[in-house]
């Protein structure tokens, strides 16, 4: 066997032995990501349901009661109080007991029957923008639907032809028909956990070698930096693949995440992604003298990497200049591949730009880390 291969095998075997013998590291690599995926899969939920609502009905009429009843019949709003006036409703909003207060004016029914156009006031707690915008949308959509129904009833009463709707909406949700948050979020969480685990393990592992002095012992041997780096990375590439396999199983069995595309494509993307995350971990380690520094450095990288990846929020919601920055983020491309392959059954012809970028990042990060390690050694 070539001497470089002998060295490579020796480093891989050493890493595996050390990892397997350290129970905390083993738990961090396997159990922790699975448990977090399980918990976060349930915890991260963007569905807005049963928003607490107060109704101030100063009209006390059949029409106002019917309007409120039909609005609250849906799953979005839930009646929790019926205060007498706006001031009491405002207090409930201020105390956080309710998020929406609907106010029907005394003239609601009269205005409606006269055909002058009645109004309902919705006071919404805007401190949670997602929740408040969904609530406002629900109130507005219900008002429009109710107006349409009333218009048709009025026309029928007056013996006129009911106005025909000119646009008919027929919506069909693809890829995630039940609009389950978990189906969308779980692949993102898997990418995020893989990033955290592999970057931290790698950066702290190399920093520990520097701290304990074993790195110096290696530096007086003929072992090349590139062989050392590859040897250190290899076991964690395999662990990362195993983690993704387990995450896909949990995703499918617990959260109903489908696998519509090729498993091989997921494995390939994972390998390329892991090269980036492990390379970043090594790069952080070359700039750290201690494990503590490596830990802090890891978090300074991971926080923006997760926030600018589309795992938690849509990239369409962030400013254009920041979207450009996300092109430099391997987490973004990996999440796009995972969602594309798993949910849409996308293939390499659809996702080649992401694959190209992931390959580029992987080679670049490992290359820079090896070069920097070589320079900082002496």
């Amino acid at each position: 066997m070539h001497p470089l291969l002998v060295q490579y095998r020796a480093v891989v075997v050493k890493e595996v032995r050390q990892t397997v013998r350290d129970r905390r590291v083993m738990a961090l690599l396997t159990l922790a990501p699975l448990m977090q995926l399980f918990v976060l899969g349930f915890a991260v939920n963007f569905d807005v349901r049963r928003v607490p609502t107060a109704v101030v009905d100063r009209s006390r009429s059949v029409e106002s009661r019917e309007h409120a009843r039909t609005l609250l019949a849906g799953d979005t709003l839930r009646l929790i109080a019926e205060p007498h006036d706006e001031r009491s409703a405002a207090t409930l909003l201020e105390d956080g007991e309710t998020s929406v207060a609907l106010v029907f004016p005394p003239s609601f029914e009269k205005d409606l029957l006269r055909g002058d156009g009645a109004w309902v006031q919705a006071l919404v707690d805007g401190s949670d923008p997602v929740r408040s915008s969904v609530a406002v949308d629900a109130v507005a959509r219900h008002a429009a639907a109710r107006a349409s129904t009333l218009g048709m009833e009025q026309a029928r009463r007056l013996g006129r032809e009911p106005p025909r709707s000119t646009v008919t909406l027929e919506s069909r949700v693809l890829y995630n028909p039940a609009l389950e948050t978990a189906v969308y979020v779980v692949p993102g969480i898997a990418a995020m956990l893989l990033l955290i685990v592999t970057t931290l393990i790698m950066s702290m592992g190399l920093a520990r070698e520097r701290e304990t002095g074993t790195l110096e012992q290696l530096q007086v041997t003929p072992l090349r930096s590139s062989v050392l780096m590859l040897g250190k990375v290899t076991p964690f590439l395999l662990v990362g693949l195993l983690d993704v396999g387990l995450a896909l199983c949990v995703g499918a069995w617990v959260f109903g995440v489908p696998l519509r595309g090729s498993l091989l494509l997921v494995a390939l993307a994972t390998l390329l992604y892991l090269m980036s995350t492990l390379g970043t971990g090594l790069l952080i380690a070359t700039a750290s003298r201690t494990q503590q520094q490596a830990f802090v450095g890891g978090f300074l990288f991971m926080l923006p990497a997760v926030l600018l990846s589309g795992v938690m929020t849509s990239l369409r919601a962030i400013p254009d200049w920041l979207v450009w920055l996300t092109w430099l983020n391997p987490v973004r491309h990996y999440v796009e591949v995972l969602r594309g392959v798993l949910l849409k059954g996308a293939g390499l012809s659809d996702l080649w730009p992401q694959f190209l970028l992931l390959s580029g990042f992987g080679v670049l990060m490992l290359g820079i880390a090896t070069r920097r390690f070589h320079k900082t050694a002496a």
Partner: protein, 252 residues
Amino acid sequence: MSAAETRDLELRDVRRSFGATQALRGVSLAVRQGEVYGLVGPDGAGKTTAMRILSGLLRPHEGSATVLGVDPAHPRGEARERLGLVPQRNTLYGDLSVDENLHFFASLFGLSRPDFEARRERLLHITRLGRFTERRADALSGGMYKKLALACALLHRPRVLLLDEPTNGVDPVSRRELWELLYGLVHEGMTLLVSTPYMDEAARCHRVGLLYEGQLIAEGEPRALARAHGVSPSDFESVFLAIIARRDGRAA
């Protein structure tokens, strides 16, 4: 030293600083083939810095270092193949066993399987670690750990061995065993550079260099140095103190 004599290790007017601290201030020394050279000095004298420069772990800011005629810091230089280092700190893998450490370092030096087996047998025999091959390195006593570090450094049959305070934290019996072991290596033709803060160990070397505040303030054979200062060679501590006192007096 005559020009014909082979200089296995050499520092030429080496200067190295760490921030405002000058660790080495123009140190020059040469170690001949087959010699045991003792680098003696108190803590902070610059012994470890000199060792690290000669092992290629540090580059000098000024001056030069050579090991067997080549720059030790050159990443692919032959120095690494022919140099062994026993550092001051415990730098083996504590969570690997004695055997696993030996096998790992043998692989890095590209030893073939039969060659490794032969070396392993020999080194376990001379270090008397044969009964502890399955024991984790961090479960060894101080003396046994140093012997394992020595065994790992000797696997590839280096021509030059650097030992940075090898007997630090080692009990007297193990110290004596370690020195017997080192003499055995010199007998086989190896060149040794040993740094130590213990003056009694200096007397065991063929030549010593007294390093003090980053400068080599005296150099020679232990007996000759003792004679020059009118003290017994066995009381090398007095030699060292006399030299320092004279130097400090001159400086004042």
